[in-house]
């Protein structure tokens, strides 16, 4: 469909279609300006973004202040530091620029419907028919510049009949950014060949031949140029001049996961709400299925005729688009909705969605450890009893017992390490070790008798010690010597001594119970 549209568009547009106008926007310091926006205290700081490249930190983006001081992308960060010791270097995130541009592109849709991302630091707008709404192109450009600058972005813009010329003037122009219709040739003449968006090696070769400006070669025989510089130079030239069509690839904004259901008559009954919920869930889950997504959080809103909004919300332990399951979860909360005089609009929203492949819908495969059923059970329990009623623990790579387990964030989280089985560890580990008194032989023998919470225990069997040192990079302190103890009734305990007898009288603690 999309392809076809372009096709039609191309046929209809004659090469000399003068109604087309394009705006090129160049963010000269895209990422660094954004950084200053986020951290205004950086405004007067000279800083750059750098990323490792062949073992060295190479500058990827420079702030306006850094550029003034001669720092340029491509330099090695260490070299820059020798020149400018005060230079701050931040890690560059390669995807950051693109994300930013995308957001800016969406924002720019206020100026024109078709906005495309142009390279790593620019936007290209098809503004045909738009500027007159702003009272002319001059006002239009001014508005774009003023608004973007008010965000803190250094921008250059230009408008022309073709993408090529708009880009060239935006990046290399030095007189006016407003190229009037049909004036491409004049605008390009004094610009350097690089303004034509050609490969660096062609530019280099042109410059070596003394062809520093487009006017030097624009009138040369086309065959002579093509033989030496290949077809791309001529294509770019023709595109800039408007003799060849260039197609814009506008961004497609994401549509939020939201479904609406207006009602003819105000709804006031629970059954009515249920029907609405069912319908909305059907359509929402259908879309989720199409996009291989599942929701983790769901909002169901009811707009009352008196203007108030009633709302219920559920969360799931794993992404889901199972209508029955989601319906059951939401259904529990329907009584919370106060219909009052009636509801005229229902909206369902999924603010958090995650990838979910479609295998789950067909079969519930519990044999392979697919615990969808458990997840859905847990959804119900936590829905009723609250989020903190259920915990899941995973092993963590620490010798120190308190740190050897951690709370899992989701049901899907896989343990990063195996549960250790070769060591005796109690089933029930106390949150805080509890002090005990012991009767014991020194230096490192197990106790023969201990008192825990006032009750004496006679030790029948013991194993140990297992010496666990403090993780010196986290906490300082004495090591623990752990013993597994069996009392005369056959119950088993995990005790430890803190430190040794060389440095005073060490304390003893109870830390856990074996089954």
């Amino acid at each position: 469909m999309q392809q076809n549209k372009h096709f039609l568009y191309q046929i209809n547009a004659k090469p000399a279609d003068m109604s087309k106008r394009f705006v090129s926007i160049w963010f000269q310091h895209l990422t660094t300006d954004w950084m200053i926006r986020r951290q205004p205290e950086l405004k007067d700081v000279v800083f750059v973004f750098a990323a490792p490249e062949r073992g060295r930190m190479v500058v990827k983006a420079v702030s306006a202040a850094a550029q003034e001081r001669g720092i340029q992308p491509g330099m090695v960060a260490a070299d820059c530091r020798t020149i400018l010791p005060s230079l701050q270097v931040f890690d560059d995130k390669p995807e950051r620029a693109n994300k930013l541009l995308y957001a800016l592109a969406e924002w720019c849709m206020r100026f024109a419907p078709a906005v495309a991302i142009d390279g790593a630091d620019g936007l290209m707008l098809d503004v045909s028919g738009c500027p007159h709404l702003w009272g002319g192109e001059r006002q239009y450009l001014k508005d774009i510049i003023i608004r973007l600058r008010s965000f803190g972005y250094h921008v250059r813009v230009a408008i022309a009949d073709t993408i090529g010329t708009a880009w060239a003037v935006c990046h290399y122009g030095h007189t006016t950014p407003l190229i009037r219709a049909g004036m491409q040739t004049e605008a390009l003449l004094t610009l350097p060949p690089a303004a034509l968006r050609i490969e660096a090696n062609i530019t280099e070769r042109l410059e070596k031949l003394g062809l520093y400006q487009i006017k030097n070669f624009i009138n040369m025989p086309r065959r002579a140029l093509r033989r030496r510089f290949g077809p791309s130079l001529l294509t770019r030239l023709d595109q800039a001049l408007g003799q060849e069509i260039e197609v814009l690839d506008p961004i497609q904004p994401v549509i939020p996961y939201q479904e609406r259901l207006p009602c003819l008559e105000p709804i006031r009954t629970a059954t009515g709400i249920e029907i609405a919920l069912q319908k909305l869930l059907d359509t929402l889950c259908e879309r989720l299925a199409k996009e291989s997504k599942g929701l983790r959080c769901c909002l169901f809103k009811a707009w009352r005729i008196d203007g108030k909004i009633e709302q219920i919300q559920i969360g799931t332990n794993r992404p889901s688009r199972n209508v029955t399951h989601l319906f059951k979860l939401l259904e529990q909360k329907i009584p919370l909705i106060e219909p009052d005089l009636g509801i005229e609009l229902f909206i369902i929203e999924a603010p958090v969605v995650e990838d979910l492949t479609s295998a789950q819908d067909t079969f519930w495969n519990t044999i392979n450890g697919d615990n969808a059923a458990i997840a859905e059970l847990l959804d119900k329990i936590t829905g009723k009893l609250g989020v903190h009623s259920v915990h899941r623990y995973l092993p963590d790579e620490h010798y120190w017992p308190e740190r050897s387990v951690k709370v899992a964030t989701s049901l899907e989280e896989q343990p990063a390490t195996e549960w250790r089985t070769e060591l005796p560890r109690p089933i029930h580990l106390l949150h805080e070790p509890e002090a005990i008194t012991v009767t014991v032989a020194i230096p490192d023998y197990p106790p023969v008798l201990f008192h825990y919470k006032g009750v004496p225990y006679n030790v029948a069997k013991a194993d140990g010690p297992e010496r666990i040192e403090q993780e010196w990079f986290l906490t300082e302190g004495q090591y623990r010597d752990y013993y597994c103890i069996e009392d005369d009734k056959g119950a088993r305990y995990w005790l430890f001594r803190l430190g040794d007898y060389k440095s005073g009288e060490p304390k003893w603690f109870m830390h856990g119970f074996f089954a």
Partner: protein, 1053 residues
């Protein structure tokens, strides 16, 4: 009694947390009588341990932990010399199978070499779910027992892990079942428990993780330290026999590294003579050849004396080995020159090992060889750097890879690397790590006490940071990897593998041993340094050229000696390109020192070195030489040592002699002092020796100030010392290269350019210098150039130099050989060059270098034609005329001269057309900037502005923070001095400018002119005007990194 037998030192890289010396010292403290050393698949640390143990009066049991690819690890202890040889051979085999740094061993190998070696099996640390060892371990154990019999033991240790008791019980069971005695060990990884933290960090570095995510890769407690005997006895109370059994192994292993005896190779004698007879025979024979009959009486007595001495010390094989290598080089016409303590003897001279005539000195032979230390003599031989590999391969071929190998260098952890590694392991961000490694020097005592603030705001109260710094301090000096010595060879009579394991070096066709120079010294092995020297290549090429073009057959020995014209040239510091004395510091010293004879050159070479400079010996010497100060000696006994250098110690051995004579050091102590300067600088080890030296000298009646100077000088010698004999060998090369430059500047420049890269200067400066001496230099051209620079017909006094293709960027030698081969009567079209097989990219590079002038095309026109070659008729149209022949000619913009010069610099880093600065001279004059030439006419103290391309920036370590900058304009070069404060203020300008303007006062001292900088200004912008004139909008093109046209200047420390 108990002996620790399982000890991992830091030579098991990134595993052991203590130096072998520390472990030995701790063993002594705890009252151990012996200690076993068992690093992983290596013997690299045992010599250190051995030396340390010998000093402390205990014994080490040399051993090794064999990590096998197909079985449990074994500890191996040779009981006698043969068994040691087997172990070493075994490790060599494993090493040679693997890449450098790895060792692949299998059970079969162990069985093969097991004779007389005691083994201890290391059982797994964990038990399985039934609290037992896995079946495969039991099977392996059974197999070991069958293969190794009564030599096999089983290790038992108690590291306070859970299940220690169960494990010991199971081990005892196994021991009984298979009849393998159980022996106690403690798997020592560090000498004291406090080292656990560093050991954890090492684990992180090894596993490339941070301390926070290292998890179970760390050890759970700090029990792997060297424990007192009593404690071990207590731990194994239930199994006391395991403690006693260690003694069985100890008493069986009586082998000591002292038993290793070095035997010289045999192939060096002929006709059944003994080495001494052979040396005597050769010495007299060659003396006769050189001096004719009769040999001058002075030489006769010198040779007799030296032969007697050599006989006493039994050094004849050593001299013969060196002679053999030198003889080979001579036969292959590889230029070489010996240096080092024994090299400047009469015998070495007649044997051709050195070309420095010893009769020119009055040096006592034994002064070079310290008989007290009984070290083997030291001769280093320099070879042409391009051909040294031939010599190395000759040695390998003659003696075989199993008998000759290169000595290792143990790369030590330096401050910067250490802090980086530790900080990374401690989880600091990359950014902080960089900052930290860059500002280590700021984090001084004062900073710790909070008196001094660091630039990056590091907080002395941050415990994490302090921990990082603490660990770093412990980590500095740890061995990190075994590298290859630059050329130190060990050659033996028997198999080398029987003395020490050998391993593959990183370079192809090289093998080296696990021990370094000091280890070799400690065991008294012979070592010969086969080094590379660029200047010898240059001199060789110069000799070839003089033969070809001037019909002169020169050698190092027959270059006319003591030529006043040569010294005159040197006195005027006209020494660009000359060996050693071409640096800024040397060149400013020359007019002051005014060398007039060979010995003056020796002094010149030695004086501009960190030693004399730090010891503040330069100025007193100059004053005394000029007669401004009376020559006096601090004492009678020092007069003998210092008489040749006017009472000022300049050479390394003079300073050491002073330590011996004046401060009462033993020769060994003096040497240790010098060595320790380089290695232990950070460790505070030096200060005790400093005190000893100064106290000793003051006790003997010397002034404190003099003593301190001697100490500082020794400090400077630590890393860059020059003994007199080295200086003499270098001085000869200085003289020879000066002589060539003086009489044949054409030959000299050509040879130098063909040996590039070397020395201080860029080709551009060499060429400018040659032109100054009246040599015509011609540009690179497709019809005249070869790969190397060549000499063409005589123009004026000298042959003209034709620049070779090697100067043009992007050209490959093989392709240029094709071009030269197809040249015949010369090319007339670009097409014919392409038909010779030269690629289009290469043609473009040739066009860039403006090499088409002989077919009347400048670079632009040539490029225009070359660019169209891509589109030539092919397929069935091959052979038809290309379109470019019929195509209408296109007017290309004319290129200005300045643009040509800029392009020349881009393509060849030099231009014969003009000097770039000449184009901006007008603008410079408007700012009243003078030329460098005008500086000579200025008065001392005059305020000037001078500008030029930055050739060299130098911040020597000896001159605290001072930066020396050499500028070049179209009239010559100027030196300027920038003091620290100014440097900091103008840091950006100084480091970035290609064209730098310096404002300041002229300082004149005789012929030496310096500009003392007051202000600096970056004028590189002017150079942009050399290119095309276009409007320059502040847009994208100024954003991208512009390729730098002019060389940024070289930076030296």
């Amino acid at each position: 009694m108990y002996t620790e037998l399982q000890v991992t030192t830091n030579f098991s890289f990134l595993r052991g947390g203590s130096h072998p010396e520390e472990l030995v010292a701790q063993a002594v403290t705890l009252g151990h009588k012996e200690i076993g050393i068992t690093d992983r698949n290596t013997l690299a640390g045992i010599v250190r341990a051995h030396t340390a143990a010998k000093k402390k009066g205990i014994r080490i049991i040399p051993g090794c932990r064999l990590d096998l690819l197909d079985g449990p690890s074994l500890l191996a202890y040779p009981t006698n010399k043969d068994a040691y040889s087997s172990l070493s051979t075994l490790l060599s085999e494993g090493n040679l199978r693997a890449e450098k740094g790895a060792c692949f061993l299998y059970k079969e190998d162990v069985y093969k070499y097991a004779k007389d070696i005691k083994f201890i099996v290391i059982p797994p640390t964990a038990l399985n779910t039934s609290f037992d060892f896995n079946i495969d371990f039991k099977a392996a154990l059974k197999e070991y027992k069958e293969a190794l019999g009564t030599s096999l033991y089983l290790a038992a240790n108690r590291s306070y892990l859970a299940n220690d008791n169960k494990r010991l019980y199971r081990l005892a069971q196994l021991s009984k079942e298979y009849n393998i005695p159980l022996v106690a060990t403690n798997d020592v990884h560090y000498h004291i428990p406090e080292r656990r933290e560093l050991q954890d960090v090492l684990t992180c570095i090894r596993e490339k993780c941070t301390i926070y995510n290292a998890g179970f890769r760390l050890h759970q407690n700090a029990e792997r330290y060297l424990k007192p005997i009593k404690e071990m006895q207590r731990l194994f109370m239930q199994y006391p026999e395991t403690i006693e059994l260690t003694q069985e192994i100890v008493s069986a292993c009586q082998f000591s590294l002292s038993d290793l005896k070095y035997i010289y190779p045999e192939e060096i004698t002929t006709k059944g003579r003994t080495p001494q007879e052979e040396l005597t025979y050769l010495a007299w024979k060659m003396a006769k050849e050189f001096y004719g009959d009769p040999i001058p009486p002075k030489v006769v007595s010198a040779i007799e004396y030296e032969l007697k001495f050599i006989k006493e010390m039994d050094y004849a094989p050593y001299f013969l080995t060196v002679y053999d290598i030198v003889r080979f080089a001579r036969e292959q016409h590889i230029l070489c020159q010996g240096r080092g303590s024994a090299a400047n003897s009469t015998i070495c001279f007649v044997l051709g090992i050195t070309s420095v005539d010893p009769t020119k000195f009055d040096l006592l032979f034994e002064r070079f060889i310290s008989s007290a230390r009984n070290e083997p003599p030291d001769i280093d031989v320099d070879f042409e750097h391009e051909r040294r590999e031939e010599v190395i391969q000759y040695i390998y071929n003659k003696y075989g890879r199993d008998r000759a190998a290169i000595v290792a260098t143990v790369t030590q952890q330096h401050e910067k690397g250490a802090v980086r590694d530790v900080a990374k392991a401690m989880g600091l961000s990359v950014d902080t790590v960089n900052k930290l490694s860059g500002s280590m020097w700021e984090l001084t005592e004062e900073w710790h006490k909070g008196k001094h603030v660091s630039d990056h705001g590091f907080d002395p109260n941050d415990p994490h940071l302090i921990k990082v710094l603490n660990l770093t301090e412990q980590f500095i000096g740890f061995p990190r990897q075994l590298g290859q010595h630059t050329g130190g060879f060990v050659i033996t009579q028997g198999k080398l593998t029987e003395l020490c394991p050998i391993l593959n070096a990183r370079m192809e066709d090289r093998t080296c041993i696990e021990w370094n120079k000091d280890d070799i010294d400690a065991l008294g092995f012979l070592k010969i340094d086969v080094l590379a020297l660029g200047m010898l290549t240059c001199i060789r090429k110069a000799f070839d050229l003089t033969k070809e073009h001037y019909n002169l057959d020169l050698t190092l020995a027959n270059v006319p000696q003591d030529d006043p014209a040569v010294y005159e040239m040197i006195c005027h510091a006209d020494t660009i390109g000359v060996f050693q004395i071409e640096s800024r510091a040397q060149m400013s010293m020359l007019p002051r020192l005014k060398p007039r004879c060979f010995y003056d050159l020796v002094i010149e070479v030695a004086i501009v070195r960190p030693g004399p400079i730090q010891g503040d010996m330069v100025h007193p010497y100059l004053r005394r030489r000029d007669g401004k100060e009376k020559v006096k000696y601090p004492s009678k006994e020092l007069e003998e040592i210092l008489s040749k250098t006017l009472g000022v110690p300049l050479f390394q051995e003079q300073a050491m002699k002073i330590a011996i004579v004046a401060a009462g050091f033993t020769p060994a102590e003096a040497d240790e002092l010098r060595r320790s300067m380089a290695t232990f600088k950070a460790k505070g080890f030096v200060s005790s020796l400093e005190k000893k030296l100064i106290d000793g000298m003051m006790k003997n009646g010397y002034e404190k100030e003099f003593a301190q100077r001697i100490f500082r000088q020794l400090e400077g010698f630590g890393s860059y010392g020059f003994p007199e004999s080295h200086a003499a060998s270098f001085a000869l090369l200085v003289y020879v290269s000066s002589w060539i430059k003086c009489y044949y500047p054409d030959v000299f420049a050509t040879a130098l350019l063909n040996s590039m890269p070397m020395g201080f200067y860029q080709p551009a400066q060499i060429i400018i210098d040659a032109k100054k001496h009246g040599v015509e230099v011609r540009s690179v051209d497709i019809n005249h150039s070869y790969w190397d620079n060549t000499l063409e017909e005589i123009v004026g006094n000298y042959h003209a130099i034709r620049l070779g293709f090697r100067h043009a960027k992007g050209l490959k030698e093989e392709e240029m050989q094709l071009l030269v081969a197809a040249r015949n009567d010369g090319f007339t079209t670009i097409h014919s060059i392409m038909n010779a097989g030269v690629s289009i990219t290469t043609l473009e590079h040739l066009a860039d270098a403006d090499a088409f002038r002989s077919i009347r095309l400048d670079r632009r026109q040539a490029l225009w034609h070359v660019a169209a070659l891509n589109d030539r008729p092919n397929g069935i149209f091959t052979g038809q005329s290309a379109e470019s022949v019929i195509e209408k000619s296109v007017e290309l913009p004319q290129m200005r001269l300045s643009e040509h010069v800029a392009q020349d610099y881009i393509a060849t880093s030099l231009s014969l057309k003009a000097h770039p600065v000449s184009f901006v001279r007008e603008k410079l004059s408007q700012c009243s900037i003078v030329t460098t030439k005008e500086l000579t006419g200025m008065d001392n103290g005059a305020y000037v502005k001078v500008a030029g391309l930055v050739l060299v920036r130098q911040r020597p370590g000896t001159a605290t923070g001072i930066c020396f900058i050499t500028l070049e304009d179209e009239t010559g070069i100027a030196n300027s001095v920038v003091f620290l404060k100014l440097f900091d203020a103008y840091r950006k300008e100084i480091l970035r400018a290609r064209l730098l303007m310096i404002e300041g006062t002229v300082q004149k001292e005789g012929e030496v002119i310096h500009v003392i900088a007051r202000k600096c200004h970056d004028m590189s912008g002017l150079l942009k005007q050399l290119g095309p004139i276009t409007e320059e909008p502040a847009t994208k093109n100024s954003l991208a990194v512009q390729p730098e046209i002019f060389h940024g200047g070289r930076n030296f420390r």
